[in-house]
Structures are given as C-alpha cells and as structure tokens.
Amino acid sequence: MTAPSPSPAAVRRTAHTLATGAVGWLHRHRELGSLPPDTSGELTDPDSVYKPLGESALAASLVLREGIASPADRRAAEEILDFAWAQLREGDLLYERQLRYMMMTDPLELYTHFARAGYRHERLHALFNHLGRLVSRDGAEQLPNRRLAVANAARVAGLDREPDWQVLTDATWLGHTPEPWAIDWMTAYCVTHTVFHVTDWGGRPQGLSPEIQDYLARWLPVWMDVWQEIQEWDLLAELLIVDSCLAEPRSAPEVWEVLAGAQRPDGLVPRNGEPVSDDPEQAFREHHHTTVVAAVAGTLALSRHRGAPALV
C-alpha cells in the first residue's frame, strides 16, 4: 500500500489563486482598518482595528519574506505595511501603549511584523529590550502558546532574549503530543499558534522536534477533515498553514480546492459557512482575520509545498 504523492503543482496553483485574491482584498479594503482619529495607546477596544492592522501587516510581511509574489502582489504588500505603519504613527502609538502598560505584549507582537519587513522604532526597540530583561517578564501569567508568541516576536524583532524553546514548547498542549481525539476548537487554535511561533510561520520548520512533526503529519488530515466538514474555514486555513510549517508539507489538493471554493470572487475568505454581510464594514470586521489567514496559507504553500506523500 503506497500513497500517491499529492500533486505539488495542483496545490501550488490553488494556493497562488487563494493568496493573490486574499492579498488583493486586504489591500483594497485597507482603509476600513483605519484607527479612529485621536486614538491613544490606551485603546479601549484593541480587537476592533488595532489587532487587524497587525494581522494585515503579518500577511504582508510574509509575502515579502517569501519573495515569490508577483510584482503587483509585492507592491500591494508594501502598501499594506506602509498604511498600517502610518496608522500606528510610525510606531509611536505602540511605544505609548507599551509605556502605559508595561506588562502588555501586544505592542511587541505587532511591531515584529514591521520589523520583519525592515521598519524600526529605536526608542520602542530599547524599551522592549529593557522590559525583556525584567524578572517580571519571566513570571507573566500567560498561556504557553502565548508565551511562544512573545518569544518569536522578540526573535524576529532582533531583541536581546534567548528563551529555552524546548521548555516553552513542552509546556503547550501540542508539546505533550496528546490524544488527537481530545482536541477541541479552541485547543486547535492553540496548536496552530504553537506551530506558527515555534517555526516563525514556516521560516524554521526544524524548530519543531521530529516527534511533533510526526504527530502533526499523522493527525492534521483528520483535524482538517472534521473542521472542513462543518465549514470552519478560518480553522481549516490555519491548519493548512501548520502543514506548510512542517519540513514536508503533505496537504492534499482537494483540501485546498475546498478552501479556495469558499473564497468569494473579490478575494474575501469567510470565516465559516454563514452568509457574508453585504455591508463592507461588517464584512471587514467579521472576515478580515480569515482573509489574512488565507493570504498566509496560500503564500506559504506556494513557497514550500513540494508534494510529500501523505502517511496514509
């Protein structure tokens, strides 16, 4: 019994269509993600616009990092980053926020996407290094996968920290390689984010131990199957990113076709099977995250999928 190799050309073709559509949508709708005038670092509702700005910047920074996008997509990615950086007042807003809330990690987690693309804010950088040296940082009350997010943000931003990745990974759900049938929706997101941060979004697949790579190769197809069945497109797309973060991505062309089939002609990828609102602002609020995830998933698969055969 030998499993045929999935066609890498088929996966990459679909991934390219998905990524181009998603990046185009993020670019065309970027101004819907503008911060309200006079926004200060206190941010009473950080999830409304601030966090999506960072997510768009993440997708754009990975498009540029992978270096395989078309000139038009590359230009779109650069303009997304420029727009978001301007919204953050070239980092001043992040700096104010970090000054006001020294235990918060989101300023660093946003800053790192810009740092990956070459942006820099000197005083903020120095402030991050100072806070990172405090014992307080080590004692922060955080979920294990969130601790990895901060560690990876510090690594990408080039801060003076050297965490023990093994210890951080072992503390996560995934690090325990648990019963794959015990996963639930929220834990699945913990798994995807553990992989994103340990591997820096596929940039260093070797960061995952062979044991975890084997575990994910075995169970990712099952998890994709069950969340695809109930049209959880956001989680499916995150699981496809996880596949691209492995040394040997194995996702099947059929899964990509299902996700691409959910993408709307304008490039938006809905978070689930529910109808998408005709109101552009509501559609942006509800589906911006999934479109970011689709842009990342497509970009990484296009760059990394070589058609390794599935285990079964």
Binding site: T2, W181, R218, D225, V226, V312
Partner: protein, 236 residues
C-alpha cells in the same frame, strides 16, 4: 408519555440490540447461557430474532471465540435457520458478503451444516483515502475476531494508522458507535503486529463513558478489550 415504535425497522433494531446484549453478557460472564438458540426461543417475534442473528453474524460466535463459551447444535441450527429465512442475495452490498462468508465459515467450524454464503468478497486497502476505507472497515467490524478470514489478513503500519485516523475522526464527530467499531479493528491489528498509534485503553474508556450506551457498541468495546489483551491468542 412515550409509546413503543411499532415499525418493522424499530422491531428489528430492538431485536439486534437484545441479541447484542445477550452476546455481551455471555462474553463478559454476566449472563448466560445466551447463544442464538435461546435468543430465538424467547423472542416475541422469532423472525425479527432471526434477522438479528443475520445482522450480528460472526459476533454471535464471539463468546465462543474469545471466552470459550459453548456453541451447541441448537445454536448452529438457529444460525442455519436465519440463513434459510434471510438468504444471501446477488445484490447484497460487499460488507454483507464479507459478513455472510465469515458467519458461514464459523458455523461449519462449530459443527453446523454448510450454508451458501453468497458471492466472493472484494478487498479494499487504505491507500490515501483513509476516510473512505475506515468507513468501510467500520461496517465490517463483526469480522474483527480471532480465526475469522476478514479484510485485514496482514495488517501493516499504514492500516493501523488509517484505523487510528478513522477512530479519531469518529470520536471528534461524537460518532461513538463507529469509533468503537474502528477501535475494535485497531485492537485486532495491534494483536497482529501493527501497533495502534492511539492509547486504545483511553479510547475504549472514553467510548464507554461518553458513548451511546447501546449493547451493540458495548459489545464492540468489550471485544476490542479482549483483542487488545490478547485473548485470541489463548482461545483461537
């Protein structure tokens, strides 16, 4: 207030559940004697009882195969009668063909008269379509017994992984009957040199505590436990 469902489907399903409970009792030593003969004798609807014998097929021999329980001439006669009343047909699905051939072989081995088992069964392998193959194997779970020639004569690592994936998928979908059937195959494969990539004890505990509680599913988990413990190597 609830009323009994008088439809033929409900009557037959109840007969299957009743017989599964008897077989389970005989297997675990909590109830007996409980061969198919007693089941048919005591049934209010003998035809439905015979249909249940056909549906469970090889599983009516499970107490004999796994626990050394008696399977006497009257039990053989009940199986023969079930084949007479519900004979195999040319249009039977492949799963039914497999089940009937296994039942017929076990009947002969236990001293019963030969019965016509129908067509030749077809084989399938996991290949890359693990989900479809696992669904097929779940429907064949009564063949996961020692000494039965079934669709998994030489399980390998790929089959073990496909069974584990199917079990995992069923558990995540809270389809505990299917999970129990596939865990039973996983235990069978494990006992034949293809180690299960799941903690089978935890899987079986979970199904028993969280599942539907039907006798049929309990029978599958009980058989899986015996296969996992290597009972077949002592009694087959």
């Amino acid at each position: 207030m609830s009323y009994p469902d008088p439809s033929p489907h409900a009557v037959y399903a109840a007969a299957v559940e009743s017989l599964a409970g008897r077989v389970l009792g005989a297997l675990t030593g909590t109830r007996g004697p409980a061969g198919p003969a007693r089941h048919v004798e005591e049934a209010g609807d003998p035809k439905a009882a015979l249909a249940a014998v056909r549906v469970l097929g090889p599983d009516v021999f499970a107490p004999a195969l796994l626990a050394g329980a008696a399977f006497g001439p009257a039990d053989c006669e009940a199986v023969t009668e079930a084949f007479r009343v519900f004979p195999p047909g040319p249009d039977d699905p492949p799963e039914t063909v497999w089940r009937d051939r296994a039942t017929a072989a076990l009947l002969t081995r236990h001293g019963g008269d030969p019965v016509a088992p129908g067509a030749q069964p077809v084989s399938r392998t996991p290949r890359h379509r693990w989900r479809i193959w696992a669904g097929w194997m779940a429907r064949l779970s009564p063949l996961a017994l020692p000494g039965v020639t079934g669709p998994l004569p030489e399980p390998d690592a790929r089959a073990a992984q496909a069974l584990a994936m199917g079990t995992t998928r069923a558990l995540l979908r809270r389809d505990h009957p299917t999970a129990a059937r596939l865990a039973r195959w996983a235990a069978y494969a494990d006992g034949r040199g293809a180690p299960c990539t799941l903690d089978l004890g935890a899987v079986l505990d979970h199904i028993e505590l969280c599942g539907s509680g039907t006798a049929r599913t309990a029978l599958d988990t009980a058989i899986a436990r015996r296969l996992a413990a290597g009972s077949e190597r002592r009694t087959a």
